[in-house]
Amino acid sequence: MRRIPWDILLALLVPFLLGLGLGLVYSWVISPLHVLDAEPVALRVDFKDQYRSVIAAAYAATGNLPRAQARLSLLGDTDSIEALNAQAQRMLASGEQFEHADQVVALALALDENKRSTPQSGSVDNNGAPVSTPTVEFVNNIDAEPTSTATPPSLPSDVPIILTETPQTIEPQSTVNEPTPRPTNTPVPTLGAPFTLTGQETICDSNLPDGLLQVLVLNSNRRQLAGVEIVITWDGGKEQFFTGLKPELGNGYADFIMTTDTTYTIQLARGSDVALGITAPTCQTSSGEAFLGGIKLTFQQP
């Protein structure tokens, strides 16, 4: 029986492992591959915000929602609507122009409305037959070898993005080879129907600031809406404030401190019911001590 030559095996294994380690250190640390062909998903957060803003501005200009959706998908957000709403809050909080935040909110709303109005994939019609969904399909071939750099096939102008050497190709199912007319410029989408005042509660909570007016703005799907302008007027005064500046309390939340003996009128700038005669109520603690309570108003799209 032959003895295993451990000394020789070890003499080969050690330099092999040493070489492997050196190779990895060189390729991962000393000289990693340079990034030249990055995708938007790998961008830093602030650049992604900028990318989203420009997508929203382009959407505001063209009204081309499929193209905006395709572009947003490149950023890899798990929920584009939430990402847009959160960004609108950040923009307002950092004092950016309201118009720019409004474009971002408008795109979020358009996506939300489109999501609700578009039948989901795999749904069935009244007869039980599958219903096709006219959505944009994204084929992700990230691991595939890059294809040649030949001129891309002529695509309709409505196609979201033309890519070459393409790990990602975007093919609208519903517009095969049929060029569709480009949408004309459209105004920024509005929030749709005026909001209705669906709730008005008196809040007697001594833990809250005195005279706190809380406003909650919801869309018809009961999703909180950020960036909605609220106009509050009183005898000799007027002020505007926005939802979403306190994201920890909700995207559609805004508040205002009322003073004693002042009557306020509250309305959403985009059109809503008017909350008239709003005053800070007087409340009592359990020990009988009086304090200034608050009011909570809820506006919702019908």
Partner: protein
Amino acid sequence: MTTNRSLWVFIILALITGIGLGLAYGWVIDPVDYFDLTPDTLRADYKADYVLMTAEAYRFEQDPGLAARRLAIFGTKSPSAIAADGLDYARTNGFSDTDIALIQELVTALQAWSGIQ
């Protein structure tokens, strides 16, 4: 003596094989993943699409200063040069005539805007 020399040959071969495999793994099989990148690293088609988005917005807003700020995220070049690069890419890669015209309009506007800065 001969056995010793051939052992050293095998040791060096093992080392070279290890280095080669390490490099192949680190550069090809599992290269470094990058996050938090800057826009100048974007692939050319994404850059061109960003220029197109800026051009679409510019057509509506007619604000070359704002368009220039949007393009400034690419850094090193002037906004008009960035837009011109996007235009070159669009022309050579089958963008629609409408999109090319939009980018052309942006390039012209930014060149004029640069002139008065």
